[in-house]
Amino acid sequence: MTDQELVRRAKAGDQDAFEQLVLDNQNRVYSLALRLSGDREEAADLAQEAFLKAWRSLPSFQGESSFATWVYRLTTNLCIDYLRRQRRRQETAPSVSLDDEESGWAEPADWEQDPHRKLEASERGRALARGLEQLPEHQRRPLILRELSGMSYQEIAQALDLDLGTVKSRIARARLSLRKILLEDGNFFDPPSSNLTKKENRR
C-alpha cells in the first residue's frame, strides 16, 4: 500500500493504517530525536509525542508534503521545544553553560557506550553516524537541524537562541570536527595527504 493510501485510511480513522505509518517512520523519527536530544529515553518520549501529534493533527494534514516529511517536521519542532525547556531549566539552576564552547564540557552521551545496533546502512552511513555521536552537542545540534531538518541558518538561530554568526561558525566547526573524526576512523575519505594532517593540527 502506498503512503498516500495509508494516510487516507488513517485519516478515516483506520488505526492499523496509522500503525503501519508509525512502523515505516519510527527509526528515522527516533534517530532525529536522539541526535537532537542526546538521550535515549527522551528521544523515545519525543518520538512518541511526535506520532501522537501526527495522529491528532491528521485531519488538518493536507498531504502538501509526504507523511515522512511532515512527521519529521513535527519531530524537529518538538525537539526544539524540548531543548528550549531544557535551556530554561539550566538558566534557573546556575551551572556551567552547556553552550560555552570554551568550557571544555564533555559530551555525556549516554548513547555512545550503548551496544545498540546500527540499522543496515552503508559503511559510510555508519561511519557518519558514529562521527555524529562523538560531536559535542553544541556542534551536533545546529548541524543536524541544517542537514537533517533542512532548516536555514536564521531558523536554527531562532530555534537554539543563538546569533546568526554563532550558528554559522558552529556548523562549520561541526563539519570540520566530523571530518577529523572520520579521518581518524579511517577509510572514510581518500587517504589524506600528509600536509593536510599537519594543517589539521594547526586548526
Binding site: N27, A44, W55, R124, R175, L182
Partner: protein
Amino acid sequence: MECERCLEQLSARLDGDLTDRETQELERHLAQCPDCRALADQLKQLQTDFAQLAEEEAPPGFAQGVMEQIRREKRVIPLFRRPQFKALAGLAACAAICIGIYGAGLLDGPETPGSGAVLQSSDQSDTSISAYALPPENTEESRGEIAQRDALSPAGSASDSTAGPAGDPAADGPSLQIQAAAAPAPSLVLTVDAMPAGAAELLSDETTVSHSAQDGRDTYAPLTREQLDEIERLAQEQGITASRTSQEGAEGLCALVVLAG
C-alpha cells in the same frame, strides 16, 4: 583570505549562504590554496553522505506503545453530536411509542403482570429510553464515553452512589442534565461560539459534557488550565469568538462552554 575564514565560507557555500562577492573571494582563495581545495572536496562529500546516514533503531515495542496511547486517548466526540446517537435516539423514540401503544393495548385487555412496569418506562422522557436502546459497547470506546452514557441512563444513575441530587433524570424531565452535582465550581471558564476543530481531541477521559436544553449550551468540565489555553489558541486560529471569565471556584479547575450546540 585566511584558511580559518575559508572554512566558514566553505561551509556556508554548502548551505547556499554565500553572496556572489563572497563566492568570488572564496574561489580566488581556493585557486591558490591546495589544502583548502582538499578540505572543500571532503566537506562536500561529508554533506552528500548525510543521505545515507545510518539510522538508530527505535526501542522495541515502540509502535505498539504509540498505538496504545492513541487508543487510550481516543477522541471523545460529544455524545449528542454523534450521528449514531441521533439515529438511535430516533429509533428509540419509535420503540417508545410502540411499547406505549402495546402497553395501552394490554391495559385495555386483561391485566398482565409486568405491564405496569413497561408502561412506566414509556412514561419517562425519551432521553432515558434512548439511553436504554443504545447498542452494546464498542470495545474500543473510551471509559469517558461509557461514563457519559452511564450518567445518561437512569439505571446507571440509580446504581451510582456518586450521583448527586441532579442524578435523577426522571425528575428533570426531558432536559439532558448529566452534570455531577458534587463537582466543585471551576475558577476559569472559556466560552466559545463553536467547538474549534481539533479541540475535542484534547479532552481527556475525565472531562464530561453536559447539555442544556434551555439555551443549547454544552458545558465541558473539568478541564486543566493547559487544555483551556490550547483550546483558546485553536479557537483564535480558526477565528472562533472565545472569551474567558474568572469566577469564584476551585483553583486550577476550568470549564469550557460551547454556545452553538
